[in-house]
């Protein structure tokens, strides 16, 4: 397992580290670098400044639009993404888009796929999408069913690690120690507790579905390669994208991509791919940073650094989690493998 989602171009000034690169062939540039990208999620939406989710959704859907030659339907769970894109009667979506309930996006998407199949239009592909609340908590039953039936749907979870739309309440994707409205930074165990929550990509893998991937808005080439790969397969597929939320995380809106980058470079959010339950590839860390560097960018972790002495115990526990990811997904490769 030393492969990676796509072939990195090593040099040419910035190689494939930037969105585009005038020195590279078109095929080595991202969909986002193209003047003709579909902008599936267009301007005028009401997401906060520096919203990671708005960015992640456009990245993923534009890549899927290109991969399917624009033959695509999106089904949305309730959440920020739904609310900020479709205040009646406006829509920011430039593709057929459907919203039903908070918890049933996977089931509705299964139905849309079935309807397309029986009406002889199986070339039209279906994506279901939602936030971490709609995916890991409220919509979890429907999602597991969709996986179990292997319905021909790509489900994308935009993970901002809490219920941001309703005022930053904890979800089962909220990391330990993070302060939310329901896990205040008080008492002997401030913030979210250790030992709770769900690792949804691994749960998805346990269903033995054709494809599971994790991605980040900080690594666009990697994200697009994974969406393209997923759209090249049929059956139930799952992609989990880390999308920083300046409002809920208490980070600078300008830092959205930087925060996402630190999450992967610290090892806290591993980027990997799995097929039929087995990890097949992971994206190596380029410049490793201690978790502290990531945590310090966000107010939700500010209590770890308050007063005279930082909360070394909890920071060390988070570092152990990052180190475990690094071991599990083989994220630190030798210098020779470095991009």
């Amino acid at each position: 397992m030393t492969e990676q989602s796509y072939q990195r171009v090593k040099f040419y000034q910035t190689g494939t580290l930037t969105v585009g690169n005038r020195l590279l062939d078109e095929v080595n540039r991202t969909v986002q670098a193209s003047m003709s990208r579909s902008n599936a999620l267009t301007s005028g939406h009401r997401a906060c400044q520096g919203c990671g989710e708005a960015l992640g959704a456009r990245y993923a859907l534009d890549a899927a639009m290109r991969a399917t030659d624009n033959q695509l339907v999106a089904v949305n769970a309730t959440g920020c993404l739904e609310v900020f894109t479709t205040p009646y009667p406006e829509t920011s979506w430039q593709l057929p888009w459907l919203h039903s309930l908070f918890g049933n996006a996977a089931a509705v998407a299964s139905g849309v796929a079935a309807a397309l199949r029986v009406t002889g239009r199986s070339h039209v592909r279906v994506i279901a999408q939602g936030g971490d609340g709609g995916t890991t908590d409220i919509g979890f039953g429907c999602l597991s069913g969709m996986f179990e039936r292997n319905d021909d749907v790509l489900y994308i979870c935009y993970d901002n690690q809490a219920y941001m739309n309703t005022g930053v309440q904890r979800s089962s994707a909220t990391p330990p120690t993070a302060r939310t409205a329901t896990t205040p930074a008080v008492g002997p165990e401030p913030g979210n507790i250790f030992g709770s929550g769900k690792d949804l990509p691994r749960i998805a893998m346990a269903h033995g579905i054709p494809y599971v991937g994790t991605a980040s808005v900080a690594d666009l080439h990697d994200l697009e390669a994974k969406v393209t790969r997923a759209m090249g397969l049929h059956g139930a597929r799952y992609i989990h994208i880390l999308v920083p939320c300046p409002l809920g995380w208490g980070s600078d809106p300008a830092d959205t991509i930087r925060v996402a980058r630190l999450a992967t470079e610290s090892g806290l959010f591993p980027l990997f791919e799995a097929e039929y339950g087995e990890v097949t590839a992971s994206t190596p860390i380029r410049r490793q940073v201690p978790v502290e560097e990531y945590l310090r960018t966000q107010q939700r972790f500010a209590h770890l650094f308050k007063g005279d002495s930082p909360d070394v115990e909890r920071i060390a526990a988070l570092q152990r989690a990052a180190d475990r990811n690094i071991r599990t997904y083989h994220l630190l490769r030798s210098a020779g493998d470095e991009r």
Binding site: K10, F11, Y12, Q13, T14, G15, L17, T18, V19, G20, N21, R22, L23, R29, T30, Q32, A33, M35, N39, T42, S43, G44, H45, R46, A47, Q49, G50, C51, G52, A54, L55, R58, T85, Y88, P89, E90, T91, S92, L220, P246, D252, P253, A254, D255, T256, I257, R258, R261, R287, E338, R339
Partner: protein
């Protein structure tokens, strides 16, 4: 109205919702001044010509150099490249090998016979340039391109000045000098060799010249009085190097040559002597750290077998032996004598202690003033105290390198042009410096510097072949692509890609980007993720 249950409005697009009204600060594309450009004495726009070279558009890159500097192949060899000393990439791995790329472009231009054109209409004005060194040639080139008629009068038998008499052939082959000088003459510049101008005002009047640029350099060797009872063999560095250039047989030095001085000229003499088959010893009164010569030249000289005696002054020169006194540095770093003496073997002493300006001609021009150290005073527009007579290069107060001389020539040409048109030249305002902290270095790939091949040591000790080789095309291209493009957009599409609001408009190759302020919320991600620091956030008036 036939609408489904509970639906009263038509579907609309969010594009009617101008989220730009939320903004408290707005992004702005800027061009900052890259540190290389800032450091270049000839005012080259290095980042810009590397940008074209990165694409493999070498002709365009070369033309961009030629806007400011008519001698790329010479500069790529003989310039001490302050651009590289200031290169931001040095803080990542190592500086971009700018001079090697410049040399590659310069050599390619010679090989392909590239030329530039005079696009300005003839002005009908005539300018006299005195001295065909780098400064005079540069001024002549720029004046010719600005449409003026130029005549260069040179006292010596060849054009090039210190590029011939100061820089040995193993650093700068003469064919390169000839090719780049010829290209300037091909613009219609007249060159009169062996023409020493004794009376500048008279020559101007007789020839109908409207302005004059004097760049006669500094050719008089500084001397010191050292007792030499047996009349030991003493030479000065400049006449030695001059003879190397002009005489058929190299001057006889004796078996063991002692060079006195610590500048680049001292090293040039020692390395030349070594190549002539002699032993070469440098005597310098301070330490290596304090030596004015460039470190790479010291290194190359030591490699070639030149020995250097630090902290020594010469006190007496006898037949075959030289008495030196040991020095030590005081607290302020100045050398002071210790009273301890030693003797070293030596047949010839070459004094490389610096040069003075020959002021005999200039002193006669009414209005021209000299500073106390014997250089000509000029105003900020390079004009001497005499209307219409300008001066530059080694003869005016500044450091003495060929690149500075070329820069003087350009600057003087612009002011002479303005003077002839009855106007004043206004330099465009400088952009803010693109310092290292303005960059987001995450995005640059790791890439080691391409090094130029060096001639093997045996041949460096015995022949005058060029020491440093050039980069080949693939190496030069690779090296150009190491440029970080500090402070200037290189169209990486990051801003276009990272905007959560699609508020960046891509204008297509070569045209960069624009902001759609109807939708920009002012989050600042574009500025944060711009690799080269070409976006700033400025507050909105609220």
């Amino acid at each position: 109205m036939n609408k489904p249950f509970a639906i009263t409005l038509d579907v609309g697009s969010s594009l009617v919702n101008h989220t730009g009204s939320w903004r408290t600060s707005r992004p702005l594309y800027v061009d900052r001044l890259p540190p290389c450009n800032n450091a270049c004495p000839a005012g080259e726009n290095i980042q810009s010509w590397l940008f074209h070279a990165e694409e493999g558009n070498y002709r365009r890159a070369w033309e961009e150099i030629m806007v400011n500097n008519p001698l790329p192949a010479i500069m790529g060899r003989a310039c001490y490249h302050p651009c590289e000393t200031s290169c931001n990439r040095a803080k990542l791995d190592s500086a971009v090998n700018i001079h090697a790329v410049e040399r590659f472009l310069g050599d390619l231009a010679i090989k392909e016979d590239w030329t530039v054109n005079v696009e300005a209409p003839p002005s009908g004005k005539k300018v006299l340039v005195v001295g065909a060194g780098p400064s005079g040639l540069s001024a002549a080139y720029h004046l010719a391109r600005l449409g003026h008629g130029v005549t260069i009068m040179e006292a010596g038998p060849v054009a090039g000045g210190m590029m011939r008499f100061g820089i040995p052939t193993y650093r700068l082959p003469r064919a390169v000098v000839e090719a780049e000088v010829q290209r300037i003459l091909d613009l219609g510049v007249e060159l009169r060799l062996n023409t020493k101008v004794e009376d500048i005002a008279g020559t101007m009047k007789d020839g109908g010249f409207d302005a004059c640029f004097i760049a006669i350099g500094a050719h008089l060797a500084k001397r010191v009085d050292i007792p030499a009872p047996d009349a030991g063999h003493i030479l000065d560095a400049i006449s030695f190097l001059h003879k190397m250039e002009t005489e058929a047989e190299p001057p006889k030095l004796g078996r063991r040559v002692v060079v006195y001085g610590g500048g680049n000229t001292a090293l040039d003499v020692a390395r030349t002597a070594k190549r002539l088959g002699d032993e070469a010893v440098i005597v310098y009164r301070r330490t290596r750290e304090k030596m004015p010569a460039h470190d790479f030249e010291v290194e190359e000289a030591l490699d070639e077998g030149v020995t250097i005696n630090w902290l020594r002054t010469i006190t007496q020169i006898d037949e075959g032996s030289i008495t030196v006194e040991k020095m030590e540095l005081d607290a302020s770093g100045c050398p002071r004598p210790t009273g301890e003496y030693e003797t070293i073997a030596g047949d010839t002493v070459v004094l490389a202690l610096g040069q003075n300006v020959d002021t005999s001609v200039i002193a006669r021009i009414p209005g021209v003033t000299m500073s106390r150290d014997g250089v000509v005073e000029v105003s900020p527009n390079m004009m001497t105290g005499h209307q219409g007579i300008f001066a530059g290069g080694d003869m005016v107060p500044s450091e003495r390198t060929i690149t500075i001389a070329v820069g003087h020539g350009k600057k003087a040409a612009r002011h002479i042009d303005a003077y002839l048109r009855g106007a004043a030249y206004q330099a465009p305002p400088k952009h803010e410096l693109a310092s290292f902290d303005k960059l987001n270095t995450w995005y640059y790939s790791d890439a080691d510097k391409m090094v130029q091949p060096a001639l093997d040591l045996i041949r460096r000790r015995t022949t005058f072949e060029e020491v440093m080789g050039g980069l080949d095309e693939s190496n030069a291209l690779f090296e150009a692509r190491r440029c970080l493009s500090c402070g200037n957009c290189f169209e990486c599409d990051n801003c276009f890609g990272v905007c959560p609001d699609n508020a960046v408009i891509k204008l297509g190759p070569g045209n960069r980007f624009a902001f759609n302020l109807d939708f920009c919320k002012g989050c600042g991600i574009c500025a944060q993720e711009c690799p080269c620091g070409a976006i700033v956030m400025i507050p909105e008036d609220i």
